[in-house]
């Protein structure tokens, strides 16, 4: 079983009930008419493909059918937190990098960030606010 916390249902649900919907936090240009072709093309077609922390849009397709955001590590597939649309992520590549400096995060031999020593993962999966 692979369980994902739905911030709307407020509980862990089986992964089968969810679908990923791509990168989150894509802002539509306020004035599309004023966009250059490149800006509009970037908005429409180009997506980040980071190695490590990625913020994604998911939908609880079989449950409440609502969209929400997921912070996921694309290397370990670990889901670090889920949060509602409109809310900012609590965990970002930057926040993990600064944790790393403070010695809160274990660094894998490849130099890739993995969440380790902190309880951040467990806490967020349970949906508790730190």
């Amino acid at each position: 079983m692979f369980l994902i916390y739905c911030p709307h249902c407020e509980e862990l649900r089986e992964e089968e009930e969810f679908h990923p919907k791509g990168q989150a936090h894509i802002v539509r240009p306020a004035d599309p008419e004023a966009c250059s072709d490149e800006e509009w093309g970037d908005y429409l077609f180009f997506r980040d493909n980071p190695r490590g922390i990625h913020h994604e849009l998911w939908v609880h397709a079989v449950g409440c059918r609502k969209f929400f955001n997921v912070t996921r590590n694309t290397v370990s597939y670990e889901i670090l937190e889920t949060y509602k649309i409109g809310e900012p992520p609590r965990i970002t590549a930057e926040s993990l990098a600064s944790d790393e400096v403070q010695g809160k995060v274990q660094v894998a031999s490849s130099g890739q960030q993995t969440v380790g020593a902190t309880n951040a993962t467990v806490e967020t999966v349970k949906g508790e606010k730190a």
Binding site: H8, C9, E10, E14, E17, V62, G63, R65, K66
Partner: protein, 222 residues
């Protein structure tokens, strides 16, 4: 903005008196697959409660709660994935999503209920924050009950959702995966599980349940 808000709706009886008989989504399955009889050995009993009134309510919880309290005498469930019922368990409201609830009432009540709810919500249409929708989905789904000592075991074979009493207490209800389809699974009382099946999945789910229940000598209470 408010001038552009549609304030009209079609409120009509979807099941008028007519020569065309209304049929449950399982009518075909009963003819094609049949109904194994309930026997002494049956450790699961399936019972359809066909032709109930199903309404979907959408909108803000506070406004809708006020209206259903006035009309039905009990409020919306306060927590996600729970349901509320009236005293004799004939009428229920289930949380489906943060702005969506399923109301189930005895068959034939839904038309009048929709009218009374719209009346109670009347002024609510005047402001944008109070937008709401009521949709009669009675024809699109049916409700079946599972009872018996092995009902939970049958569910465990069919859904990834945890149906252990600790995870699934009385009063809970969820939309989840069932076999390779999905349905609404609810537990209105200690002994009884309720499954709300969509019409298009009804035959598949019915045959799945009979197959999964074969080892418990499942019977269909006609």
């Amino acid at each position: 903005m408010s001038e552009q808000t549609a304030t009209w709706f079609n409120h009509y009886d979807v099941r008028p008196q007519s020569e065309v008989p209304a049929e449950s989504p399982l009518a075909w399955s009963y003819r094609k697959t049949g109904r194994p009889a309930v026997s002494q050995q049956s450790r699961v009993v399936l019972r359809e409660r066909a032709m109930l009134g199903h309404l979907i309510l959408r909108g803000g919880a506070i406004v809708l709660d006020e209206a259903v309290r006035r009309v039905l005498g009990f409020g919306l469930p306060g927590r996600p994935n729970t349901l509320t019922q009236d005293d004799d368990g004939q009428r229920s409201i289930q949380w489906l999503s943060p702005d969506e609830w399923l109301v189930i009432v005895p068959g034939g009540e839904e038309f009048a209920l929709e009218g009374r709810l719209r009346e109670a919500l009347g002024d609510a249409r005047d402001t944008a924050v109070k937008n709401y929708a009521i949709v009669n989905v009675s024809g699109g789904q049916t409700l079946i009950e599972l009872e018996g000592e092995c009902a939970r075991e049958l569910l465990m074979k069919s859904t990834p959702y945890d149906v252990h009493p600790e995870a699934f207490p009385v009063g809970k209800g969820v939309t989840t995966v069932f076999a390779k389809a999905n349905l609404i699974l609810r537990r209105p009382s200690e002994q009884r599980w309720e499954l709300v099946l969509r019409r298009s999945f009804a035959d598949y789910c019915y045959r799945w349940i009979l197959d999964a229940g074969a080892e418990y000598a499942i019977g269909v209470d006609a």
